[in-house]
Assembly symmetry: C2
Homo-oligomer: 356 residues x 2
């Protein structure tokens, strides 16, 4: 049987409390006794206080739960998500807290078990589709929550660190409209839950995934203000937020007679895929076709991508801080961070000559 505090205590004829203090509160006992205790522990193969028992007694586990949907790869492959996670990990690490990655299974009952078995002090939600059943489970856990997307997904008791997605997208749309483009395609991911990559006919007001919904609505706002009816816009669903999907989606906008002269996307990753598609077809970004992204990931600059710069690492870091050191003032637990429009080479005026 594995050694416990009591084993050591019995061995030395001291009380269990004293052995506990040797580990957790060294100032509470004489250095000599502490040394004897640690020596005995070493000798008896005692691995130190059991973390679970300690957590139970202290009521704190030093861990933050992070939900990942089945498509785990995305959370690690999308540079925006990686940056966010890095910021979160930094904030956690500074407070000696770890991240518990909950990779949610398909089976609903299994999801329930995983979420309710997770020993965490708080949850941080990002990149989780709003429709996912785990959200309700998390709410019922009754632990602090910070969300990174839809500010209305939980009540005001939940923290929130986000950006004004719609206004940001609108700035991209205005930029494109101002350049004179009228034949526009929008490539957006997760328009349809479980759908395939390809054109869809969807009402922007009915999109369920918050981030995509807001960004698409922002585009529409800009076009409407420029006198461009939404019906003229070709909306294309990307099944995943991936570069390949971006390229595949772009094909639907490029391989037709009334080729779009501008393609707006809901993420830089998709936009890079669109650029790939242009390259394959010998089209020049910013001359033949304008392309915009969203996020300003590191790869965006070398690609010359026009995009919205948002503070990805900062979002994660602030989320962690709100969870671990909650500000007194409730207003400081719900933050909307500023973004900026970064105009680079992939956008330019609508080309003069008609398509060949």
């Amino acid at each position: 049987m594995a050694a416990t505090l009591q084993t050591i205590a019995d061995e030395l004829g001291v009380s269990r409390s004293t052995v506990s203090n040797a580990y957790s509160r060294p100032d509470q006992l004489s250095p000599e006794l502490r040394a004897r205790i640690l020596e005995a522990a070493e000798r008896l193969g005692y691995p130190g206080p059991n973390p679970t028992a300690r957590s139970l007694r202290r009521g704190k586990v030093n861990a933050i739960g992070v939900l990942l949907t089945d498509d785990l790869s995305m959370a690690f492959t999308d540079p925006y998500a990686v940056a966010y996670l890095r910021g979160l990990a930094e904030a956690a690490s500074a407070r000696e807290t770890s991240l518990l990655l909950l990779n949610l299974p398909e089976d609903e009952e299994a999801v329930r078990r995983v979420v309710s078995n997770a020993a965490v002090d708080a949850f941080c939600l990002y990149c989780v589709p709003d429709w996912h059943g785990a959200l309700e489970l998390i709410r019922s856990r009754g632990v602090p929550i910070v969300i990174g997307e839809d500010p209305a997904a939980f009540g005001p008791e939940a923290g929130y660190v986000g950006i004004d997605e719609r206004a940001a997208a609108r700035r991209l749309g205005e930029h494109i409209a101002r350049l004179g483009h009228r034949d526009i395609a929008v490539v957006a991911h997760w328009i349809v839950h479980g759908g395939v990559t390809g054109p869809v006919d969807a009402d922007p007001d009915a999109l369920r995934y918050y981030v995509t919904g807001e960004r698409v609505r922002g585009f529409r706002d800009a076009f409407a203000a420029a006198g461009l009816p939404w019906e003229r816009v070709l909306l294309i669903n990307a099944a995943r937020n991936g570069r390949e999907e971006g390229a595949a989606a772009a094909a639907h906008a490029l391989d037709r007679l009334d080729r779009a002269t501008a393609i707006l996307t809901t993420s830089d990753v998709l936009a890079l895929g669109v650029l790939d598609a242009l390259r394959v077809r010998g089209l020049r970004p910013g001359r033949d076709v304008s392309v915009t992204g969203f996020d300003d990931i590191p790869e965006a600059e070398p690609a010359g991508l026009t995009t919205i710069r948002q503070p990805s690492v900062e979002r994660g870091r602030l989320a962690g801080e709100i969870l671990l050191d909650p500000p007194e003032d409730p207003r400081r637990r719900r933050l909307t961070l500023p973004v900026s429009l970064v105009v680079r080479a992939t956008t330019g005026p609508k080309p003069l000559k008609e398509k060949p």
Copy 2:
């Protein structure tokens, strides 16, 4: 005060055990009573059995610890690492187990606290430098371990899933030697702990980071067999395993009169950086300079990179399976997986004409 099992039990006048069974063993009580219990729980705001208490009693927490060094970004940015982590997460998820990411702080004492506070059933080690002090702490935790690199880092009680790094590297070296190259540079990461990117004079037998050491020794084996003394090889340290470092390291091999005609690297990420450096200088990969990588990450194929293909996802998945479903047969807990040499366009015969 928060509700517990006892709260519900008192409310309904049943025993605590029965309430527990309502959650954990529904077959142990009548459906009617169970419904009443769940209703009362809902009404009293009981969030379900406390995961920490449950873990203490059950002696299992359903979590695997994963160590990440301060350079957390690498673990997420290096596609090999991402693939490994994905495999691990898949295996864990299939068993309703989560991953606890331990982002180790700089401070040694804090590392101790983080590691010994981590509530996990097992540890999986990958991409952790052999010299890191946390290794000893983990060993003393006495939980199952699987390592992904140096099979000798722990005793035979630890599981191991790896490849024959040295033999794999040797195949790359032989490929390059067979093509006639004599002016060779090797770009390797973490040759020097905390060092800068640039040429180093290091004895391959003395390299501390296992993966780099084995791969460099494999290169040397091949060169030696081809009658190429190690002294002729330019060894360049990359401070991190990153694309930028690959490019910076390559500069040291390219911007000199006796330019290398072949650059071998210890990872695809570094090799992609080397290719960047070639491009900037107008040099043709496989014609003017041959380049090899290691890992065969997804980006390697479009780049035409000659490399070693290794089963990254599989390594992670098997590691997870060994931890969670340990095979009876000890030999099946220590696996060396096969790799293959993938020859693509970035390697070719040594150019005939001398450097311009």
